[in-house]
């Protein structure tokens, strides 16, 4: 059994994982802005924007649907994304202006609970 595992199951498992890695990133249908949000914002703000992820709770991340965030102008939100604020890092060096604009629209569309 152990020999079968060493010679068959383990290499097969590793190969399967490597194939999974090699698959195109865009296999899962997802809009560009959703992907940008997932890559950059979910860690703290959570998938629903609530800030209820463990990191978000510990760092006090804002609920993006809250009036505190939503009452800000598009330019103010864009500036916060680009330059960062408080514990939030600046994304201006990584994200294109167009990505930031789309993110602002994405944040505007987060439904209020």
């Amino acid at each position: 059994m152990s020999r079968i595992f060493v010679h068959l199951v383990a290499p097969a498992g590793i190969s399967a994982c490597l194939i999974a890695l090699a698959l195109p990133a865009g296999v899962h249908a997802q809009s560009d802005v959703a992907k940008v949000y997932k890559t950059n914002c979910v860690l703290c703000h959570a998938a629903d924007g609530s800030g209820n992820s463990p990191s978000g709770k510990a760092l006090g991340a804002k609920d993006l649907a809250s009036s505190e965030v939503q009452k800000k102008s598009d330019a103010e939100i864009a500036e916060m994304i680009a330059k960062g604020k408080g514990k939030m890092p600046a994304f201006g060096a990584k994200l294109k202006l167009d990505d930031i604009k789309q993110l602002v629209a994405y944040i505007r569309a987060i439904p209020k609970k």
């Binding site: 595992f5 060493v6 990133a25 860690l43 510990a58």
Partner: protein, 454 residues
Amino acid sequence: MKLTRPFVYLIAAGTVILILITSRDSRAVPSYTRQTGLPCATCHFAPPELTPFGRKFKLDGYVFRTKPEVTEDQDKHKKVHDSTLHLLEAYPLSVVFDTSFTSTSSPQPATQNGNFQFPQDISLFLAGAWADHVGSFAQVTYTAQGNHFSWDNTDVRYANTHDLFGKPFAYGITFNNNPTVEDLWNSTPAWGFPFTASNVSPTPTAKAIINGALAQDVAGFGGYTMWNEHLYIGGTIYRSQHLGGAQPNPGTGFGFNIRGLAPYWRVAWQTVTKNNSLEFGTYGMHVKSSPTAVTGLTNGYTDWAFDFQYDRTIPQFKNDVLSFRGTYIRENSSLGATFAAGGASLIGHHLNTVQGNVEYHYGSKLSGTVGLFKITGTPDPLLYVQAPVSGSANGDPRSNGYILNVSWWPQQNIDLAVQYTGYLQFNGAQTNYDGAGRKAGGNNAVFLLARFVF
């Protein structure tokens, strides 16, 4: 000129202060900080202790970044089949430089007490995002004792996230070389307390196999998941990979040669609120090994362990953090090969290890820790042999004691630490434990460390 002990302490203290003064303008940052644009304190209460953000960063494969990249995305308007590219502009390299001083209560026979190491070790890290979902913590370390670089703790992982049953589901695979190095908490051996230690003062002989015996001596491949940000399940299979040993592995000269595969498992549950972070879980490992060979009789080890960690942020004290951590490891071993070779007087053994510590973090600048440890197990005069300093006169693995540590971080990347380790019992006794007249308290050690991370 004869160096008296107070004089040596004075020089040590002076050196530490001098290093501090001359390094005040250093603005060093390690590669994760360069990649994320976040200060060290976002991921660490004090390195290497992870905050909830730090744990998520590791869970997600060390890839979160805010800094410029060389990129090429797929053009969705043209149906080309080109690959994408997301490459860090800054190569993710970091350095840790440790210099230290150790003094034991009684000198080790025929050696000089009051041991300076400049450096104790220097580690180079390749730590950061390799691609969209692939990142690493890879370390090579130069040690003054060995006078060479060697491969150290390494964890290369692929990670991704999706939803499962409407809840966030993070998953990944890891290649690593030390059981528990893939873990997210500081209650398991690889990242547990003490976070720094002398490499010259004597330590108890008996040690569970999961408690560092296989570190950097194995190659592992595993997977992990975190569901709903609460339930963590992981597993890794290990094979022996002896650094500096012949390939294919003949096993000669190495104490542990894994036969077949050695599975490691981990299940943990965590909950995080604004000011509280609680984790408890279990981990363990099963190893079948032949000493100094890859054929013939085997020794079997099964380690079952439980751990917990609780971090409490105290808003009334400017968000200082109080941490409690603990682990219990039960090892059952069947030493058929060692018994047949005359290295053990019986086949069945067990070993119990208990470790616990409490730490207060005064902001990110100062931390004080009190740790306790206790090892008990099956006495065996052939397995735990009599020898000066490192041996046991009565073949008993029992040791217990405490560790006190104060770390001062004048900057987030400079650690000046004072550590005292006290033994109440060492290798089975309080007095004359080695049969050569040495007391357990003779191994009590003062350890001063200056660490620079840049």
